[in-house]
């Protein structure tokens, strides 16, 4: 199969690559660009482990054809930390709250949480649970993930005051 040029914004930088047109975004990220932080759990858009942000909104990259993102902005888990290595408030909160166990759903959870906090800086339990309802976790029972999002919200507010 021929490859076609695909260019898009990835974690704030412009990317131009040649990929075959049958690839999903998750395969471009993992196999072509070597960013393996985005995980594959099911390949049918059910588990959310593959979630990335597309123009700021969470989408499942395992069923997203790569060419859909042409000219658009994608953010993966690798894109959350600053170039100086400083972690996002949500990442810090996940560690402090103990919200990761096996860690496989963590990137998907963090990105969905990030999109939520961008929209709703002070979400309640119900809003957090609804926003994260598209990412499955088998390890944590979700409790500490909810706690982490609330902690991140608090810390972000405190930092801006």
């Amino acid at each position: 199969m021929n490859t076609v040029e695909l260019s898009f914004q990835l974690n704030g930088r412009r990317v131009e690559i040649q990929v075959s047109p049958d690839l999903m975004l998750v395969d471009v990220l993992r196999d072509v660009l070597g960013l393996t932080g985005t995980k594959v759990g099911c390949r049918e858009g059910e588990c959310g482990a593959c979630a990335v942000l597309l123009d700021g909104e969470p989408v499942n990259s395992c069923i997203l054809p790569a060419f859909k993102v042409g000219g658009r902005a994608v953010v993966t888990i690798e894109g959350l930390e600053g170039s100086d290595g400083k972690l996002d408030a949500i990442q810090e909160a996940f560690m402090e709250a103990g919200a990761s166990q096996c860690g496989f759903c963590t990137p998907g959870m963090i990105l969905n949480a990030k999109a939520l906090l961008n929209r709703v800086p002070n979400p309640n339990d119900g809003e957090i649970r609804k926003a994260l309802s598209g990412v499955l976790c088998r390890c944590t029972g979700y409790q500490k993930i909810i706690d982490a999002v609330k902690l991140a919200a608090r810390n972000t507010r405190a930092a801006s005051e």
């Binding site: 049958d22 999903m24 049918e44 597309l54 054809p65």
Partner: protein, 307 residues
């Protein structure tokens, strides 16, 4: 043999050769024609891509229509609401217009899949999937919506009552047509809508039963002047419970009348026994419960707190 080769041996790839991104509707239709059945339209892709992976669909090319102009609108047009073919479930659920004039559709759209799916999957894609319990098909059927299908021959309007042909099949010819608009009458002040869903868990689940209804009342005489009740999956296509509707039309708004309508719904629904989605008996029982709850909810939401 109950398992085919594909049921036992799964791939990660989808066997597509070309990914096309037309810039205009005309270009998109030309591409479809060129492939003569070998191409498929994708908007969000959340149905088509898994189908391709499972080899339930075999095409050579995908025609991605998500860049087409003039298909993202949600607008009021007289007594109608018009939604473009690229409107997503997230947009629908959040739209002030839809929430005000077709709350049942906003509710239905908010239940599809998960937040990630709703961000990219389109309502028109949900209709085209032809699934008997598609969460926006059911409210749109209750709203007596119609869809505009564009082809190289022009446009044609198809009411939803004639759109669903069977499981996975609709009146849209995927080899040459694109769904460009959905249209329905906004709820009037003497109308109320409701949407209900029953599933085995609270998110990311195909429903055991989903229902949507629109009731029209005569506030002076406290009568139902009209009723539209849609269910899924109780038949191969989204289903209008016409017998239940008949029990309400012209009748007084009372618990007894509601009960009659519920009984009629129980009788007329014919779902199969499904080990995953529930038995026929149970889902018919739930149809009865949903009629009562749904109609009451519709009345309450339109301010008619009579029951």
């Amino acid at each position: 043999m109950a398992y085919s080769f594909r049921d036992l041996h799964w791939s990660k790839d989808i066997p597509v050769r070309e990914y096309l991104l037309p810039k205009t509707l005309s270009e998109a239709l030309d591409m479809l024609a060129e492939y003569d059945g070998g191409a498929r339209v994708v908007a969000g892709g959340t149905d088509v891509v898994p189908q391709l992976r499972k080899r339930q669909l075999q095409v050579n090319a995908l025609v991605d229509i998500s860049r087409l102009p003039n298909m993202n609108h949600i607008e009021q047009d007289g007594e109608f609401i018009r939604m473009g073919g690229l409107v997503t479930h997230a947009q629908t659920a959040a739209s002030p217009l839809i929430r005000k004039y077709a709350g049942l559709l906003a509710s239905g759209a908010s239940w599809v899949g998960s937040p990630q799916i709703r961000n990219i999957a389109t309502v028109s894609g949900n209709l085209i999937s032809g699934q008997p319990a598609a969460d926006t098909s059911i409210p749109l059927l209750a709203l007596d919506a119609s869809v505009t299908l564009a082809s190289k021959d022009g446009e044609r309007s198809v009411p939803l009552s004639r759109f669903f042909m069977g499981i996975g099949k609709t009146a849209l010819d995927p080899s040459r047509e694109i769904l460009v608009e959905i249209r329905f009458k906004a709820l009037a002040s003497n109308q109320g809508g409701a949407y209900l869903r029953l599933g085995k868990r609270r998110a990311l689940v195909l429903p055991m039963l989903v229902a949507a209804m629109v009731v029209t009342v005569d506030p002076e005489r406290r009568l139902f002047t009209d009723a539209a009740i849609a269910f899924g999956p109780v038949a191969p296509t989204p289903y209008r419970a016409i017998n239940a509707e008949e029990r309400l039309r012209g009748r007084a708004v009372t618990e007894e009348v509601l009960a009659e309508a519920g009984d009629a719904a129980l009788q007329e629904c014919t779902p199969r026994d499904s080990c995953l989605r529930g038995s026929c008996d149970y889902r018919c029982e739930m149809a009865r419960v949903f009629v009562r709850r749904g109609v009451k909810q519709a009345l309450r939401e339109s301010g008619f707190d009579w029951l």
